[in-house]
């Protein structure tokens, strides 16, 4: 497979990646489980959030984000900061700037949430924040709804990729509206990364078959009964879906088409 994947890299903002699976870091029972899962997933990028530093006994490095950053560095993944928890363009932009300061990366997974129950994005605020961050030279990967028009607008303001949701974050419902994902694939030329909703391996494969360039998975791995095994499953599923998309599937038909021809059929009775 190595050969194959280097033949078929994912390119975002000029950076070439071998893995088409982006992992989240939330929801793991331990740093160790997180690190093992990340290795098993083959991911080269992992998302992190920004939160307040808690005062800790002097000297001890515990609970320090620093240690998380170190663990991720050891796991060989690059950080993709997100703006999770932001409800306005203003907060999201400031959070992105703090992340750039903290991690020396101008990449950001832009989240502007519009509703607490569904954690769905707020379209107008998202578009406003994206525009502003692009002006500030960020590489913006917006978490967006599955609206093809909004995806196009986000590309038009300069986003490096779009990250439409398949279903609400953590719902595990898979891709509720595959038609819209297919329409987004038609509507934009930047990479499409399916984000949110993946519940199991086949969901990731379907995303790739629909034409997504990559898949982001968080809870489906970290909250699975066996996160490391699910990480392997996701790695294989993304690979399978990508290969299937490129291989050109057979058409769907209502009736059967024999895979064994009748020519030469014996007359036995």
């Amino acid at each position: 497979m190595e050969k194959l994947l280097t033949e078929d890299p994912l390119v975002i903002a000029g950076e070439s990646l071998r893995s088409r699976l982006i992992s989240g870091t939330g929801g793991f029972a331990s740093f160790e489980l997180m690190a093992d899962s990340l290795r098993a997933s083959g991911s080269e990028i992992a998302t992190v959030a920004l939160r307040r530093i808690e005062a800790v006994p002097a000297g001890s490095g515990n609970g320090r984000g620093g240690s998380l950053v170190e663990v991720l560095a050891e796991a060989g993944v690059r950080l993709l900061p997100n703006t999770a928890g932001c409800h306005t363009a203003r907060d999201a932009v400031l959070t992105a700037k703090l992340a750039r300061e903290a991690f020396q990366t101008n990449w950001v997974k832009l989240e502007v949430i519009g509703d607490e129950d569904t954690l769905l994005p707020d379209a107008p605020e998202l578009l406003r924040a994206a525009e502003e961050l692009v002006d500030e030279d960020f590489v913006v990967l917006p978490y967006t709804s599955d609206d093809p028009v909004l995806a196009r607008r986000l590309q038009d303001v300069g986003c490096a990729a779009v990250m439409p949701l398949g279903a609400p974050i953590g719902s595990g419902m898979g891709i509720r509206n595959p038609y819209n994902i297919a329409l987004i694939r038609e509507a934009v030329s930047v990479p499409v990364v399916l984000d949110a909703g993946v519940g199991t391996a086949s969901d990731a494969a379907i995303a790739m078959e629909l034409g997504c360039d990559a898949v982001m998975v968080a809870s489906a791995i970290s909250r699975a009964e066996d996160p490391v095994m699910m990480a392997r499953a996701m790695r294989d599923a993304v690979r399978a879906g990508r290969l299937a998309r490129r291989a050109g599937r057979i058409p769907r038909r209502l009736h059967a088409q024999a895979s064994t021809p009748d020519e030469g059929l014996a007359q036995l009775s």
Partner: protein, 67 residues
Amino acid sequence: MIVLNGARVDLPAGASLLAALAQIDIDEQSTGVAVAVDGEVVPRTHWEAYALRDGARVEALTAMQGG
């Protein structure tokens, strides 16, 4: 008095941002950390020179596991 990550902290008048951050064991060598004062990012190179106004709201952030 300033507000550091939501908590009131008493500091001498004109104390530096660096002094405030010391309360939570942060200094210019700390990695994976960023700081905003009153809604503006303050690069670590300015922490020492930055004199906090009374009531300044300081947010000192770092990486946390997330989506």
